[in-house]
């Protein structure tokens, strides 16, 4: 799922300073799972902002809500009746949700309450790790189920490089070498012959290099 972290409170305060009726909108999807933008985080941010404005004796209305998802119009529509009562929104959804909120309510300033980080997994409570960069052309079948795009610092398709030492990456001794992980896994699977067939350069046009992407599935379109 998409992983995000809350923006520093100072930054959020700076963004909303001057507005009088603010809606804090969470998302019940990915950002709830990574504890960055769910109902709980909405409550905490709203309480913090209320305290900030109250101690300044500024009359600012701060309301709270959380939508099933902010990346689907039908869930954003739920706010249409009450949106007129606000002059700014802080969205705690991922970058996609924040933008869709801004698109749906074009006349409202929409501010990001989180920094969206990556597509990843929960390593342990409170710790998440990156696993996918959404390159648009998955090569996990050839790399033992470990992605060199996401897990090799250089995104090498034929690794490891000379910076791999004792299973760690040269950028940081705490970062596993992606290619060491691939080697270990292929060894377990008895597929080390994979290293004898270097792969051709990847077509990055399906990744960000091809510009903003759009996905169309004709079979499910209405």
């Amino acid at each position: 799922m998409i992983k995000a972290k809350g923006k520093p409170l100072d930054d959020i305060i700076r963004m909303v300073e001057g507005y009088k009726k603010i809606l804090i909108a969470g998302c019940d999807g990915c950002v709830t799972v990574c504890e960055a933008g769910g109902r709980k985080e909405v409550e905490i941010l709203a309480a913090a902002l209320r305290l900030y404005f109250a101690q300044k004796d500024a009359e600012v209305k701060i309301d709270e809500t959380s939508l099933t998802r902010q990346c689907d119009m039908e869930y954003l529509d739920v706010l249409s009746d009450r949106m007129g009562g606000y002059d700014a929104v802080v969205s705690l959804a991922c970058g996609a949700g924040i933008q869709y909120m801004a698109e749906r309510y074009a006349d409202k300033p929409v501010f990001p309450g989180v920094d969206t980080c990556f597509i990843g997994v929960s390593l342990e409570r409170g710790v998440w790790g990156e696993r996918c960069q959404a390159c648009g052309a998955c090569i996990l079948a050839d790399t033992g189920g470990v992605c060199p795009v996401a897990r090799c610092s250089k995104r090498m398709l034929n690794g490891p490089c000379g910076g791999s030492s004792k299973g760690k990456c040269e950028i940081n001794p705490e970062v596993d070498c992606g290619w060491q992980l691939i080697y270990n896994r292929l060894k377990t699977l008895g597929q080390l012959d994979r290293f004898e067939c270097p792969v051709d350069p990847k077509n990055w046009a399906t990744s960000r290099d091809g510009g903003p992407r759009k996905l169309v599935k004709e079979d499910v379109r209405i």
């Binding site: 409170l9 709980k40 905490i44 913090a48 305290l51 900030y52 109250a54 101690q55």
Partner: protein, 124 residues
């Protein structure tokens, strides 16, 4: 033991300090509390193993928030003591009350009182 401690402290009972969430602490300040202290079991003695350790982390997080919103993290503290340490509880209660008195009323309470006074004047 007939221990004496300041009467202006309101005790909110929870099954374990692990139940205390960030929002509970923030709400207390929103409602005008001048200070809050969380009294958890001694570290290593939690019946739920880590409740008090987790509470301390949350308290520290809320202290940071309070610093940033102009209330001051010093108004919130976490203490560890056992249920059998009555005299220590009274001592902490006195210590915390003294500290909060020195800090003065919470800015939130001052604003609330000003608003209340204003409303009374209008009514009169």
């Amino acid at each position: 033991m007939r221990l004496q401690y300041p009467p202006n402290i309101r005790i909110v009972r929870v099954p374990c300090t692990g139940r205390v969430d960030q929002i509970h602490l923030l709400k207390a300040f929103e409602d005008g509390a001048d200070g809050v202290f969380v009294a958890g079991c001694l570290e290593g003695d939690c019946h739920y193993l880590q409740g008090n350790i987790r509470a301390r982390k949350r308290v520290n997080r809320v202290k940071q928030i309070l610093d940033k919103v102009g209330i001051g993290g010093g108004r919130l503290e976490m203490y560890n003591l056992s249920a059998g340490m009555g005299p220590r509880f009274a001592e902490i209660a006195r210590e915390m009350t003294k500290k909060i008195l020195e800090l003065g009323p919470s800015p939130i309470r001052l604003v609330k009182e000003k608003a209340k006074k204003g409303a009374e004047e209008v009514a009169a």
